[in-house]
């Protein structure tokens, strides 16, 4: 064995190789985490982006007075007797006329042509007619939702082969859909309804939207903010500024640290047993959901608020006390305003956590099928007492449905949820960057 400083001996080589291996393990771990993140996000985006585009059929729908208003006086009582079943043939006629006008040949019967239109579309037309009775008499141009299978065909979810086995559609219908698209009668447009419409039944994935869920989540966030922020800040001020160091405060501290790590589903059981079964609050209401999430967010807010209070240097307190302020005045007039950016950041991050939380909400019944937009206040149910659903629960709900079109909706809802979270976290980061002070 040569003993030279210029060439490494076997042992050094081994040690250097171990060094390189060790470093590679670290890089590999980072790589795994990054790859997981990229795959996760791509799978969400590729599967979910379709929910934001929807196939519509634009046709002139005849609105004959003889069918829609037998009285001829635009009497609401008479007009509202015509149900969506009465409207559906009119939509079909409109589409059949448009096909004839465009000169498209098809072997399908009129009834089968009508299947290209979503069952939800009749309700859209009916609502518009009832809102504007003067439309009756002339054909009116409507943008109607296409059936979910047709929409799936343009998005690649339904193929000719799968349609042949499907009793809800057929290759001939898809063929006609292709021709309609070429003729410009069928278009794919941005799907605003996805963000505003309420949920739809199992048979109508094309009409399902997030309106109720977004509203419900918004109400819950208001409840969480109103409850968790003041209570959390008050508790932190006491623990950080006033509490004597004794057994009792020690118990509270351990308790808070533990509450932050309690599984979220346990909070759901708490909400079910205490808020619903014992206190008799309304099931599925944003109020109960908000209270449960507030209890869950409280430890997060307390921990970050205490950190923010701790970061304010004692000299500020001493100066205030020195010019005659009371302890309380020094805290509320000087320490709290200086800690505000940190508290705000922690609160936003806590809210973002609460916004994505699902499990506890399942237990307090927010998974129910809700089509009515919840009211913020109604005399029957009180403040935030209307049944509602929430964004993450709506996602869960859609994953439990049979039609694969709902998976696309669920992933689309995830994109929406992630955008909200991104906005909240960006605001938190910007606040921190802008107002953070180093003492």
């Amino acid at each position: 064995m040569t003993k030279s400083l210029y060439s490494a001996d076997a042992r050094t080589k081994r040690r250097n190789a171990a060094e390189r291996r060790f470093k590679a393990y670290g890089a590999a771990a980072i790589g795994i985490a990054m790859v997981a993140l990229v795959i996760l996000l791509t799978s969400v985006v590729t599967q979910g982006i379709g929910a934001f585009r929807q196939t519509y059929i634009t046709v002139d729908v005849p609105l004959p007075e003889a069918k829609l208003d037998k009285s001829g006086t635009r009497d609401m009582a008479v007009m509202s007797k015509v149900t969506t079943i009465g409207y559906a043939p009119l939509l079909r006629d409109g589409l059949v006329n448009a096909i004839a006008e465009a000169g498209i040949q098809t072997d399908l019967s009129e009834k089968e042509i009508g299947d290209l239109i979503s069952k939800e579309a009749a309700a859209t037309v009916r609502n518009r007619v009832l809102a504007h009775p003067d439309l009756i008499g002339q054909p009116e141009r409507f943008s109607l939702l296409a059936d979910g299978r047709i929409d799936g065909y343009f998005k690649g979810r339904v193929t000719m082969a799968s349609a042949a086995l499907d009793q809800n559609t057929s290759p001939e219908k898809l063929d006609l859909a292709d021709k309609l698209r070429d003729a410009g009668i069928m278009q794919i447009k941005f799907n605003w309804a996805f963000l505003t419409a309420p949920d739809a039944s199992d048979q109508r994935p094309e009409a399902a939207g997030l309106g109720v869920a977004i509203l419900g989540s918004l109400y819950m966030m208001i409840v969480v903010l109103v409850l968790a922020l003041p209570i959390g800040v008050a508790a932190s001020i006491y623990l950080e500024e006033f509490a004597p160091k004794n057994r009792w405060t020690d118990v509270i501290e351990v308790n808070i640290a533990n509450l932050a790590a309690v599984p979220s589903i346990v909070y759901g059981i708490l909400g079910l047993a205490i808020f619903i079964n014992f206190m008799q609050f309304n099931q599925s209401s944003p109020l109960v959901g908000g209270m449960v999430l507030a209890l869950m967010t409280l430890p997060t807010i307390i921990i970050s608020t205490r950190a923010a209070l701790k970061a304010v240097p004692p000299s500020i307190r001493d100066a205030a006390l020195g010019v005659g302020a009371s302890k309380m005045q020094s805290v509320f007039h000087h320490v709290l305003p200086l800690a505000a950016p940190g508290i705000l950041t922690g609160t936003i991050i806590g809210l973002a956590q609460a916004l994505g939380e699902t499990a506890p909400l399942l237990l307090i019944g927010m998974v129910a099928f809700v089509r009515d937009y919840p009211e913020a206040y109604s005399s029957a149910t009180g403040l935030f007492g209307d049944p509602s659903t929430a964004l993450p629960v709506q996602i869960y709900n859609w994953t439990q449905r049979a039609d694969p079109a709902f998976v696309e909706r669920a992933q689309g809802a995830i994109i929406t949820l992630l955008v909200f979270l991104l906005i909240m976290n960006t605001v938190a980061i910007v606040l921190r960057r802008r107002f953070e002070r180093r003492w």
Partner: protein
């Protein structure tokens, strides 16, 4: 009589009281506030607090009492009257007390301090609420179902017509198996990621990787759940389980464990990062100075020194994994079974809590009540892990501070 009127009365009295207290403070001082021990606005604040706080507490106490006594309908007349009387007493007392020597600032701060203490006890109340909400129902569950069966039976088959087998063992098995796979994936990955970031990576890489890992931490669990359901599950089934003959279920222990592992990476890595950074630099310098390579320093000095903290972090991650719900609901399946095959669908405690408490529930039947017993078991296990982990982490921090 509803409680709306008393609430309105309280608000009006508070405003009036504050106004009167200021006026009176000015008049007793003869217009020169230097004679007052406290400023007029502090007398006002004291009047507001003494008017508002006691009746509000009384309202809450009444609402609770009515619930506990199962009193239905509107409150009897004496309740709102008593509440309003409290408010009036508050106003009168606080306004009468105003004088040159009365220290209103101290008095109002006592009220505020009381409120602060009240807020800090909410955390305790939450824990008490959690325990009691599950304890009573668990007791009534064990009145209907033998506890030996619950803890030692290896069969879980609830039947809403009665005669169910409700043994927790298969659920615990699924929970522990999935958590084990998740930790086996997340702990090495998270730990190595933390080591690389704190010991090797330059500021540029750290600037990119750290926020990316934080994104991973901010993603809600329902998103991971759907990822398991639509992407990871089918992938594992088509490329591993079926070709290797392990079965053809997309939801499996492996699916849920792997996705949960991804979820735990940021958790483990950020905790370990803090812990590794807390190891004093002098220990590293000493080791490097003796000629050890960087990896030898990390393996033989930094990691052993940080070991208690890392163990604490792993315990916290385990508690997370055991309590995780949405990933297993969507990724693990619903069949209660004890098997070693990781590509088979199994179920967990949390999945069964969800399935027994959603839909139609009858709070008298053991099939529903079992969820509370499961919840309490889960709470006790995670509480044990958390307390142990927090104790270890705290002890460790003190060691180097």
């Amino acid at each position: 009589m509803s409680l709306t009127l008393p609430l309105l009365v309280i608000i009006v009295l508070a405003i009036v009281g504050s106004f009167l207290a200021r006026r009176r403070a000015l008049s007793v001082s003869g217009g020169d506030i230097r004679h007052l021990a406290s400023l007029p606005k502090q007398h006002g604040l004291n009047a507001i607090l003494s008017t508002v706080v006691p009746p509000l507490l009384a309202i809450i106490a009444w609402l609770m009492a009515a619930r506990i006594m199962e009193y239905r309908g509107a409150a009897p007349l004496w309740v709102p009257l008593a509440i309003m009387a409290l408010a009036v007493a508050g106003v009168v007392l606080s306004v009468v007390k105003v004088s040159n020597t009365f220290r209103a600032r101290t008095a109002s701060e006592t009220w505020i301090k009381g409120l602060l203490i009240g807020a800090s006890t909410i955390a305790i109340l939450t824990t008490v609420g959690i325990v009691f909400s599950m304890l009573f129902e668990t007791i009534s569950f064990f009145r209907q179902y033998p506890w030996t069966e619950f803890f030692f039976s290896t069969n879980w088959s609830p039947n809403f017509r009665g005669n169910s087998d409700l043994g927790i063992i298969p659920l615990l098995w699924g929970t522990l198996y999935i958590s084990f796979i998740a930790l086996a994936f997340a702990v090495p990955t998270g730990l190595f990621a933390a080591i690389y970031l704190s010991e090797y990576a330059g500021p540029r890489i750290r600037g990119i990787v750290k926020p990316a890992i934080e994104i991973l931490a901010g993603i809600p669990t329902i998103v991971y759940g759907l990822f398991a359901l639509t992407t990871v599950g089918p992938f594992l089934r088509d490329y591993f389980a079926q070709p290797m003959g392990f079965g053809d279920s997309a939801s499996s222990v492996m699916t849920a464990g792997l996705v949960m592992g991804i979820m735990l990476i940021p958790f483990v890595s950020s905790l370990s990062d803090d812990i590794i950074n807390a190891v004093p630099q002098s220990m590293r310098d000493g080791s490097l100075g003796l000629g050890a390579t960087k990896s030898e320093t990390i393996r033989q000095v930094v990691v052993p020194a940080a070991l208690p903290g890392i163990v604490g972090a792993v315990l916290l991650a385990a508690s997370r994994a055991i309590g995780e719900t949405m990933i297993v609901v969507l990724g693990a399946g619903a069949a209660a079974r004890i098997s070693l095959n990781p590509f088979e669908a199994m179920t967990t405690v949390t999945v069964k809590i969800v399935s027994q408490l959603t839909g139609d529930t009858d709070f008298a039947s053991p099939e529903t009540l079992v969820a509370f017993a499961l919840g309490l078991t889960l709470f006790v296990i995670t509480l044990g892990l958390n307390v142990l982990a927090l104790y270890i982490v705290r002890r460790y921090r003190e060691q180097y501070e």
